[in-house]
């Protein structure tokens, strides 16, 4: 039986509501549950799912909880739990409701972090800029024209406009949104991608250096000619003049035409040693007399930046471990793989990490399916089903429409693994584990049972399944890096020091299987 509960004048953020809906659905006797703001679109959706919404007295700033339970007692219980969870979430009374009031009440305020639904986020970002606040706009799916207008306003005001679709930044040593606890130091990072910045900043920390500022630009900043790299170019200019920044690192997907050249030109003008990594592009050789170096992957970006900061030559290498140890791992992890096991499966939560992996593996095998594959033949036809070699980014829009990002709710990934562990073709599994603020408190703990089940399933088929992973994190991240690594290793996982190394090891596993006449 179905029922609804309306809470007037109660706004809650979407992540909280998704988690609330999931909690309620899990209660005994509940068939379905959903908690949404009563916008027209959401009410239509509930109506289509069979709830009576026509006579509901609720508007966009009212909360609707829709429940479907076995009997009245189950619904009653769910309502009670809902009330309890909602009570805990209440914003303290007297908190300012509007930006202008909040800014007036907080004279030192200098940055607005905005993660509201897209239909509201642009107005608030514009107001923040008009109030003289720098902005981090986490919200994605903002219209391109709005992004262009916001960035024009930010240029006019000389303010930093990070995003839209900016998931990570570190300003003055403080982590914003999904960011890690990294040391402060001489490396300034400008990045168009969240997990790309996370990986680079964590590795800079691992290489015993630190970050002055890490500025997120939003995914479209360099990709769209209309946006024209506005934030990237401002960030480079600011880092050029920042006394605490000695090296500038820029990480982005391949820019729109001419923009790559403008970024390099801006770095030349900045005059500080710089590293550029355009994900998926072959690194250019250094130009004579230029301060700009090109890196081939995220780890190399960090390593080059630290070498430049310390004024020592950069020595390229793939693996941290000596070759004989890598060989021993390969030997151990490929022994027992059956001839039928031929395919790589990458289950990622970090978008850029997934890109780095599929691009590298596709270069080597020519046959990796992914959601944003550039070769149409290898675009994953059904995002929910892996075929052949597949690297899937479970944080893609297609998975996060109605549930939180897998870095917050690991369920998306574990469910996918559990659904696919019966596939006898799986030869090697590759994963990321992203720690830091914003992420789940114990992602390894949440993942370990699925890993164990997967390995167990392969064993039952008489085979063996190597699982390779890397952890994006630092020892000061609240999830406890060492503990997370130990949990993965206890589940039989090989943990590499970077995503690039994990993907390279996966490539070597595939090479080895091919040599043995197995993998394609």
């Amino acid at each position: 039986m179905k029922t609804t509960l309306v809470r007037q004048d109660s706004y809650f953020d979407s992540v909280f509501l998704m988690l609330l809906g999931r909690e309620l659905k899990r209660l005994p006797g509940m068939a379905d549950a959903s908690a949404v703001m009563a916008t027209g679109a959401n009410l239509d959706l509930l109506g289509a799912m069979g709830w009576a919404t026509e006579d509901l007295a609720a508007g966009p700033d009212d909360l609707v909880i829709a429940l479907d339970g076995a009997d009245a007692a189950a619904l009653e219980r769910a309502l009670e739990v809902a009330q309890k969870l909602l009570a805990r979430k209440r914003v303290p009374a007297g908190a300012p409701a509007a930006l202008a009031a909040a800014a007036a009440a907080t004279p030192g305020a200098n940055l607005a972090v905005i993660s509201l639904p897209a239909e509201y986020a642009v107005r608030e970002a514009r107001k923040a800029l008009e109030l003289g606040l720098h902005v981090l706009l986490f919200t994605d799916k903002v219209a391109l024209s709005d992004e262009i207008a916001l960035k024009a306003l930010s240029r006019e005001k000389g303010l930093l406009m990070m995003g839209p679709d900016c998931g990570t930044a570190i300003i003055n040593g403080k982590p914003l949104c999904f960011a890690n606890a990294v040391s402060r130091g001489p490396v300034g990072v400008v990045g168009a991608s969240g997990t790309g910045i996370q990986e680079v900043t964590c590795l800079v920390d691992r290489f015993r250096s630190g970050i002055s500022q890490a500025i997120g630009t939003g995914a479209r900043d360099l990709k769209s000619a209309g946006v024209g790299g506005s934030t990237t170019l401002m960030a480079i200019e600011a880092l050029a003049r920042d006394d605490d920044t000695n090296v500038i690192a820029v990480v982005s997907k391949p820019p729109a035409r001419d923009l790559a050249a403008r970024v390099v030109e801006a770095l030349e003008l900045a005059g500080k040693p710089a590293v550029v990594h355009f994900i998926g592009l072959e690194p250019e050789p250094p130009r004579p007399g230029s301060v700009v170096r090109f890196a081939g992957n995220l780890e190399e970006t960090a390593a080059m930046a630290v070498a430049l900061a310390e004024g020592r030559p950069y020595r390229p290498r793939v693996f941290t471990l000596p070759p004989e140890e890598i060989e021993a791992i390969l030997e151990r992890e490929t022994r027992g793989i059956l001839p039928a096991q031929r395919f790589l499966r990458g289950y990622y939560t970090g978008g850029t990490l997934a890109d780095e992996a599929w691009i590298l593996l596709h270069q080597r095998t020519g046959a990796v399916h992914a959601l944003n594959q550039t070769d149409p033949a290898f675009v994953l036809a059904d995002p929910r089903v892996s075929v052949g070699h597949t690297v899937v980014d479970l944080g893609d829009d297609r998975f996060t429409a109605s549930r939180p990002h897998p870095m917050i709710d690991p369920g998306t990934r574990t469910e996918r693994i559990l659904a696919e562990l019966t596939d006898p073709g799986i030869a090697v599994v590759l994963m990321d584990l992203v720690l830091g603020y914003g992420s789940h408190g114990d992602p390894a703990g949440a993942l370990a049972p699925a890993l164990a089940a997967m390995k167990q399933a392969a064993r039952r088929r008489g085979g063996y399944l190597p699982v390779l992973a890397s952890i994006t994190g630092t020892p000061r991240d609240f999830q406890n890096l060492a503990g997370q690594q130990a949990a993965l290793e206890a589940a039989g996982c090989v943990v590499l020091p970077s995503n690039h190394q994990a993907a390279m090891l996966a490539a070597l596993v595939l090479d080895r299987l091919q040599d043995q006449g197995g993998a394609l």
């Binding site: 706004y11 909280f16 508007g59 914003v91 409701a97 107005r123 720098h134 003055n172 982590p175």
Partner: protein
């Protein structure tokens, strides 16, 4: 591209202080890292109403300058009580056959019982029958308290703005003889600065609408020395003092006139979204907005006829009892009274916070929404 990045370099040297709108976890991480972070109690602006959001966007920051000017005029106002007079003699546009009533304009047919009773009493008093003109007090620089009307013979307090000379009037609930004594005492003493007197009264616990004990006492203290020296019969002087002492309520009329006096000059500021009047005729509650001229925006009323909400429009009354919330819908801060002032129509619609207008009373939100829609539809040169 030459770029000004000085504000960014300043940010790098400051302590990070974040206003967080949306996912609360982001503020929590910052607090855990020793940064300052304020989680806003954000709600969809204008209740998520797309038409209102569109109107707000169209107006944008365009009204900011005009609102600063309007609020400046309101704050500069120095209302002083200069005397008393008879409505016909002093109220602009008053005629023997005019009856001024509280609230927005209304015809006899739509008047509720309390207003009809007050109008009938006024007709009797003036011996009027036949052709009568009903007009809102507000159109005549006047205000009337609960169920009050102003007729030609009604004694009125006269408040003048010492800065701009603008005058405002409010009915006096006293016999004409008493009113004359009060007028003589005032003229003997000289004008009473109501802004300053109200400032003191607010510090002593008044709010200028329902609580006027301090203001009434201060007023008696200001007037009594001059009054007892008047060459008038003792009974009349005693009667006048007894009138002032009988109830603190007489001061509400003065407070209303003072508020009317400081709000009216803001009506001349084109392009401003500052609310210059809130009033009720018992049938309709209505508001007026600086940039929208003489137009009223009305909705069915929940209370009796009275112009007393003019006090809240100026920041007094229930308004100054919840300064935290009201500060979110105002354009300025009154340094003399120490309260937020200058209700900004845009902020009312955007936040959904309605001006407090008395114990447990809220004005109908629809008049603010209608006024905003009308403002957004103004030709650009007027709306900017």
């Amino acid at each position: 591209m030459s770029m000004d990045v000085a504000p960014i370099l300043r940010l790098f040297r400051q302590d990070l202080s974040v206003l967080n709108l949306g996912l609360a976890g982001f503020a929590e991480s910052l607090l855990a890292n020793g940064a300052e972070a304020v989680q806003l109690a954000w709600k969809p602006p204008a209740g998520g109403d797309p038409a209102m959001l569109e109107a707000l966007d169209r107006i944008g920051a365009g009204a900011d300058g005009a609102n600063r000017r309007a609020a400046g005029i309101i704050l500069e106002g120095r209302p002083v009580l200069v005397g008393l007079g008879t409505a016909l003699d002093v109220v602009p546009g008053m005629t023997p056959a005019t009856i001024l009533h509280a609230g927005p304009p209304i015809a006899w047919e739509r008047m509720g019982e309390p207003l009809r009773a007050a109008v009938s009493a006024g007709l009797n008093r003036e011996g009027l029958c036949g052709e009568v003109r009903f007009e809102p007090c507000h159109r005549h620089q006047a205000v009337a308290p609960a169920a009050g009307v102003i007729t030609a013979g009604t004694p009125v307090w006269i408040v003048a703005d010492a800065v701009r000379g603008h005058r405002a009037f409010c009915a006096v609930d006293a016999e004409p003889g008493l009113a004359r004594v009060l007028d003589l005492a005032l003229r003997a003493r000289g004008p009473v600065d109501l802004k300053e007197l109200l400032a003191q009264a607010l510090r002593m616990g008044d709010e200028g609408r329902e609580r006027n004990r301090a203001a009434a006492s201060l007023f008696i203290r200001a007037l009594a020395p001059a009054m007892v020296r008047l060459d008038q019969p003792r009974d009349l002087l005693a009667g006048a003092l007894a009138f002032l002492d009988a109830s603190d309520g007489f001061f509400l009329n003065l407070s209303m006139a003072a508020c009317k006096c400081i709000l009216d000059p803001a009506r001349t500021v084109a392009g401003s979204t500052v609310v210059v009047a809130m009033a009720c005729n018992g049938t309709d509650f209505g508001i007026q907005v600086a940039g929208l001229g003489d137009r009223w925006f009305t909705a069915p009323a929940a209370e009796g006829p009275s112009d007393a909400a003019i006090t809240e429009a100026a920041g007094l009354g229930a308004f100054c009892l919840s300064t935290g919330r009201m500060r979110q819908i105002t354009a300025a801060e009154d340094p003399v009274w120490g309260i937020p002032a200058g209700i900004d129509l845009r902020k009312v619609v955007e936040t959904g916070i309605l001006p407090a207008i008395g114990t447990g009373l809220k004005p109908p939100g629809s008049c603010f929404r209608e006024a905003l829609a009308a403002f957004a539809d103004l030709p650009a040169e007027k709306g900017q």
